[in-house]
C-alpha cells in the first residue's frame, strides 16, 4: 500500500461517521465485556434460584422473609415477586447491574467527550469538517451503539437461559428485561454528555455525573421506603428501571420517560457544546489557587495528594458493598433459608451459623473489589510514566525502584484501609436488620481480604516493571479469572481441582472459616516478594513514552 493509500480516508459518511466510529471503537469492547458480565450475572441468579429454591414452599418462605425486611427494598430495590424466578432475578441483579451500568456510562461518556478535549484531540476533530454540536452528537451516536451492544449481549444470554423449562422466560419479557437494564447506561451516558459540557476537566465532569448518580440513587431509595413515596420512582432513572417490572407486570411505559430523558440530555449536550469555547466549560472553574504545600515534599507525597480521592472512593465502595451484604444477611438467618441454599454454601467448605456461612461466601465479592484496587494504582503509575510526567522526577536524584516502592506503599495502604472499613460496614449492615454478629470477628473478616489483594498488587507491579503495557490487564485478569475459577470449582465438583489456580483459594472464607496463620503469612510474604522483585526490575528497562 502506498503512503497516499495509507492516509486516504476510508469508508463513507464524512466526519460524523468517522467520529462515531472512533467513539464506538474506544468503548465498544468494554460494552461487550460488560454485556457478558450482565448476562452471566442475571443468568446465574435465575439458575441459582431454580436450584436453591426448587419448591413452591421454599420460594414462599423466601418471599415471606424478604417481604418482611423493610430495609431490603430501600437498599436493593424491587423486592416484589421474589417467589418467582423472574421476580427474584430482577431483584437480585437490580442494584449491581444498574449501578455498574450507570457508572460505566458516566465514565465512558466523560472520557469520550471531556477526556478527548483534555488531551487536545477534540480540538483536532473540530478543526475538521464538523462543528461542536455535530461532533458531540456523532460521539453520542457511537456511545449509543455501544449501549446497544450491551443490550443485545445481555438479552441474548438471558434468552438462552430463559429457554430452559425450569426458568421459563418468555421472549417478550426477556427483551423488556434487557431494555430495563439498558435504561441506566443510556440515561447516564446523556448525563455524562451534559456534565462534560459543564465542567472544564474530565475529573470535574465525572464528579458531577457521579453526584447526579448519587442523587438519583437516593431518590429511588426514598421512593422504595413506603407506599406513599412510590410516586418518586417516576423521577429517577433507577425508578424507571424498577417500574418496568419485567417477567411479572411487564410494563413498557417507563421506557418512555427514559427515552425522552436521554434525548433531552443529548440535545442539551449538543446545544451546550455549540455555545462554549473549545477547552472551556459552561461552569466557571478556579484556575488560580494559593499554594497548598501538602504532598510537595516528595514523589510519594505528590502521589498521595493526587490519588487520595480515588483511594477514598474505593474504600467507600468496599464499605458500601460490605454494608449491603451485611443487610442481606438477614435473609440467610437460620430457620428461614431453605436447605438447598445451605447445600450451595457448603460447596465452598464453610461452616458455622447461616449468617456466618453466607457472609464468608459473600465476602468473596468484597475480596474481589479490594483486590481490584491495585489496578487503579498500577494504571496511575503507568499513566504517570507514559504521559512524560515521571521524567521530571527521574531526571532528578530519584531511583526508579524507590519511586515504585512508594507507589506500592500507597496502594498497599489503600488495600489495608479498604479491608479495615469493610468488616465494620458489614457488621453495621447486619445489625441494622437485627442480625447479631461479633464486631471483632467482622473486623478480622475485613482484614482477611488484604493478603490476596496485596498479591494482586505485587503481580501488577512485576508486570509494570517487565511488560508495562500489560500491567493493568494482568491485575484484572488475575482477580476476575480467580473469582470465576473459584466459583466454578466450588459449584462443579468435577472441576474442584481448578480451585488451586485461583488467588482466592488461599483466602479463608471468614467469618465462616478461621484464617490460617501460616497461609496468611505465606500470602503476605509472596506479595512482599513480588513487590520487592518489581522494585528491583523497575530500574532495568527503558522509560516508556506514548
Amino acid at each position: 500500500m502506498s503512503t497516499a493509500d495509507a492516509v486516504a480516508p476510508t469508508g463513507r459518511g464524512g466526519a460524523g461517521v468517522a467520529v462515531a466510529r472512533r467513539a464506538f471503537g474506544q468503548v465498544g469492547r468494554g460494552a461487550g465485556a460488560w454485556a457478558l458480565v450482565f448476562g452471566a450475572t442475571a443468568a446465574a441468579s435465575a439458575l441459582t434460584y431454580v436450584t436453591s429454591f426448587p419448591t413452591l414452599a421454599s420460594r414462599h418462605a423466601l418471599a415471606v422473609t424478604t417481604g418482611s425486611a423493610s430495609g431490603l427494598g430501600v437498599l436493593l430495590g424491587p423486592v416484589a415477586a421474589v417467589d418467582t424466578v423472574g421476580g427474584y432475578t430482577v431483584y437480585k441483579g437490580f442494584v449491581f447491574l444498574t449501578t455498574i451500568g450507570a457508572v460505566w456510562a458516566i465514565l465512558a461518556s466523560t472520557r469520550l467527550l471531556r477526556g478527548e478535549e483534555d488531551a487536545g484531540r477534540w480540538q483536532l476533530v473540530l478543526a475538521g469538517d464538523t462543528r461542536p454540536a455535530r461532533a458531540t452528537a456523532a460521539t453520542l451516536a457511537g456511545l449509543g451503539a455501544a449501549v446497544g451492544l450491551l443490550f443485545c449481549g445481555t438479552t441474548a444470554i438471558m434468552l438462552l437461559v430463559g429457554h430452559s423449562p425450569d426458568v421459563g422466560f418468555g421472549v417478550g419479557a426477556t427483551v423488556l428485561y434487557g431494555l430495563s437494564i439498558t435504561i441506566a447506561p443510556l440515561v447516564f451516558a446523556g448525563v455524562g454528555a451534559v456534565t462534560s459540557q459543564l465542567g472544564r476537566t474530565r475529573r470535574l465532569a465525572t464528579g458531577l455525573g457521579l453526584a447526579f448518580f448519587g442523587v438519583a440513587f437516593v431518590i429511588r431509595m426514598i421512593a422504595d421506603s413506603g407506599a406513599h413515596t412510590q410516586w418518586l420512582l417516576w423521577l429517577t432513572p433507577f425508578g424507571w428501571t424498577e417500574l418496568v417490572r419485567p417477567f411479572t407486570s411487564n410494563d413498557p411505559w417507563p421506557l418512555l420517560p427514559a427515552g425522552l430523558g436521554t434525548l433531552v440530555l443529548c440535545v442539551a449536550a449538543a446545544a451546550l457544546a455549540s455555545r462554549r469555547d473549545a477547552g472551556g466549560g459552561v461552569l466557571a472553574s478556579r484556575d488560580v489557587s494559593a499554594l497548598r504545600p501538602f504532598g510537595l515534599r516528595s514523589p510519594l507525597g505528590l502521589a498521595a495528594r493526587l490519588e487520595l480521592p480515588l483511594l477514598g472512593a474505593w474504600c467507600g465502595g468496599a464499605a458500601l458493598a460490605a454494608f449491603a451484604l451485611g443487610i442481606v444477611a438477614k435473609v440467610t438467618t437460620a430457620g428461614t433459608a431453605p436447605g438447598s441454599l445451605g447445600d450451595t454454601l457448603e460447596n465452598f467448605g464453610v461452616t458455622g451459623s447461616f449468617a456466618d456461612q453466607y457472609l464468608g461466601v459473600a465476602f468473596l465479592l468484597v475480596a474481589t473489589l479490594v483486590a481490584l484496587l491495585p489496578a487503579g494504582q498500577i494504571g496511575a503509575a503507568f499513566e504517570e510514566e507514559t504521559s512524560g510526567r515521571l521524567v521530571h522526577v527521574l531526571a532528578r536524584p530519584a531511583r526508579r525502584g524507590r519511586l515504585l516502592g512508594g507507589r506500592l506503599l500507597l496502594g498497599g495502604a489503600g488495600v489495608v484501609a479498604a479491608g479495615l472499613v469493610a468488616g465494620p460496614a458489614a457488621w453495621l449492615g447486619a445489625r441494622s436488620q437485627g442480625v447479631d454478629l461479633d464486631l471483632g470477628t467482622m473486623v478480622a473478616a475485613g482484614l482477611n481480604v488484604v493478603p490476596t489483594a496485596l498479591v494482586a498488587l505485587g503481580t501488577g507491579a512485576v508486570a509494570l516493571s517487565v511488560a508495562p503495557r500489560a500491567a493493568v490487564k494482568a491485575v484484572y485478569g488475575l482477580v476476575i479469572g480467580s473469582l470465576l475459577v473459584d466459583l466454578l470449582s466450588s459449584m462443579v465438583s468435577s472441576l474442584s481441582w481448578l480451585g488451586h489456580l485461583s488467588l482466592f483459594h488461599y483466602l479463608a472464607l471468614a467469618p465462616a472459616q478461621d484464617p490460617e496463620v501460616r497461609t496468611v503469612v505465606t500470602t503476605v510474604a509472596v506479595a512482599g516478594a513480588l513487590c520487592a522483585l518489581a522494585t528491583v526490575l523497575a530500574g532495568r528497562r527503558d522509560v516508556q513514552s506514548k
Binding site: D287, A290, G388, D542
Partner: protein
C-alpha cells in the same frame, strides 16, 4: 580537565531501527553546545541516554566521570533537564510545581527562582491546566535554571516561547555559561543556537555528520560570492569548488568552497566592477547538510 560529557560509541537500537549510531562526543565544562538535527535524527534519544532513562544497546556515556546508567542519581544531583514536551501535573499551580521540582532535585536558589519568575513573566498561582504550552515550558526552564546545576540538558526548550521570552532564555544561557555551567542545547531554532552556542554538532540518521566551532564550520562551508562585471561572465562551472552559479546579465552569483583563487582569477579577467562576499548563516550550513534529505 575531565570533560563534562563523554560518550564512546554510544548506540541505541529499537529492533531493526537504529535511533543513535556509535556517537562519540566530548563536551567541556563551561561550554554551550548546540545539538542540531532534523526530526527523528536522534537528539531526544541522546538526551534520554545521558539521563539514564533508557539503556544503551552498546557503548557508554559518562557525565562528570560517572556512568549515566549506574550512577544516575549522583549524576542527576548536578543536572538540570528540560524535556521537549512540557507535560506537568494539571491540578498543581505553577508555584506548586516549582516547589515540588525543587524539593525533588534538592538544590534550589530561591532568590534566583523568584527573579526568574519575574523575568519570564510567569503567573505562579495559576493551575498548570490553565497554562499555554509556552507557560508550561517556562515552569520547567525556571526549575532547571534555579537549580544552578553544573550541567543543563535542554531538549528543544523554547519551541513555545515568544520572541521576548526567547531573549530572556538566551540571557539566562549566557549567565549560566558565565557561572561556569555547561549547557547541551538541542534545538531547531538555528538563530538561537547561532546566538548562544560555542560549538555545535549536527546529527543525521543517528550519526554525527559535523562537529565544531561555529566560526570553523562557517570557514569550512561555501562562501557566497556576488560580482558585477564589465563584460559577459565567463563559464565558472568547471572551476574547482564552485557551485550554484547564477548569471543575470553581467552579474554572477555562486558559492565557492575551499580556495577562492581560481574564481577570483577568472572574475578578474572578465573585469570586476563590484564584488561582495558573505559567510553562510548557520541555517545555510544546516540546509546544505540536510536539504532535500529529510534526515
Amino acid at each position: 580537565m575531565t570533560p563534562t560529557i563523554v560518550t564512546e560509541r554510544l548506540t541505541k537500537r529499537y529492533g531493526e531501527t537504529t535511533a543513535l549510531d556509535t556517537l562519540d562526543l566530548e563536551i567541556e565544562q563551561g561550554e554551550v553546545f548546540g545539538y542540531l538535527g532534523p526530526n527523528g535524527a536522534g537528539k531526544s534519544t541522546t538526551l534520554a541516554l545521558l539521563l539514564g532513562l533508557i539503556r544503551p544497546t552498546s557503548g557508554q556515556a559518562r557525565i562528570f566521570g560517572l556512568d549515566v546508567w549506574r550512577d544516575a542519581p549522583a549524576v542527576h544531583r548536578r543536572v538540570g533537564y528540560v524535556p521537549s514536551e512540557a507535560n506537568l501535573w494539571p491540578s498543581l499551580t505553577g508555584a506548586e510545581a516549582l516547589r515540588f521540582l525543587g524539593r525533588v532535585h534538592g538544590s534550589v536558589d530561591g532568590a534566583y527562582r523568584d527573579e526568574l519568575v519575574d523575568r519570564f513573566e510567569l503567573v505562579p498561582d495559576k493551575k498548570i491546566r490553565a497554562y499555554s504550552h509556552g507557560n508550561r515550558q517556562k515552569v520547567l526552564l525556571i526549575a532547571a535554571f534555579a537549580s544552578r546545576a553544573d550541567l543543563l540538558l535542554l531538549d528543544e526548550p523554547t519551541s513555545g516561547l515568544d520572541p521576548l521570552m526567547e531573549r530572556v532564555f538566551q540571557a539566562c544561557i549566557r549567565e549560566a555559561r558565565d557561572r561556569g555551567q555547561t549547557v547541551l542545547l538541542s534545538s531547531h531554532i538555528l538563530s538561537e543556537v547561532d546566538a548562544v552556542c560555542d560549538r555545535v554538532a549536527m546529527l543525521r540518521g543517528g550519526r554525527i555528520i559535523e562537529t565544531g566551532r561555529l566560526d570553523v564550520l562557517r570557514g569550512l562551508a561555501a562562501l557566497h560570492v556576488r560580482a558585477q562585471l564589465d563584460s559577459s561572465p565567463p563559464d565558472l562551472s568547471g572551476l574547482p569548488g564552485v557551485t550554484n552559479v547564477v548569471v543575470a546579465g553581467r552579474a554572477v552569483e555562486c558559492d565557492v568552497a575551499g580556495s577562492v583563487q581560481p574564481l577570483l582569477r577568472a572574475l578578474t579577467e572578465a573585469g570586476v566592477v563590484h564584488l561582495t562576499t558573505r559567510e553562510p548563516s548557520l541555517e545555510e550550513i544546516f540546509l546544505s547538510h540536510y536539504g532535500g534529505s529529510g534526515g
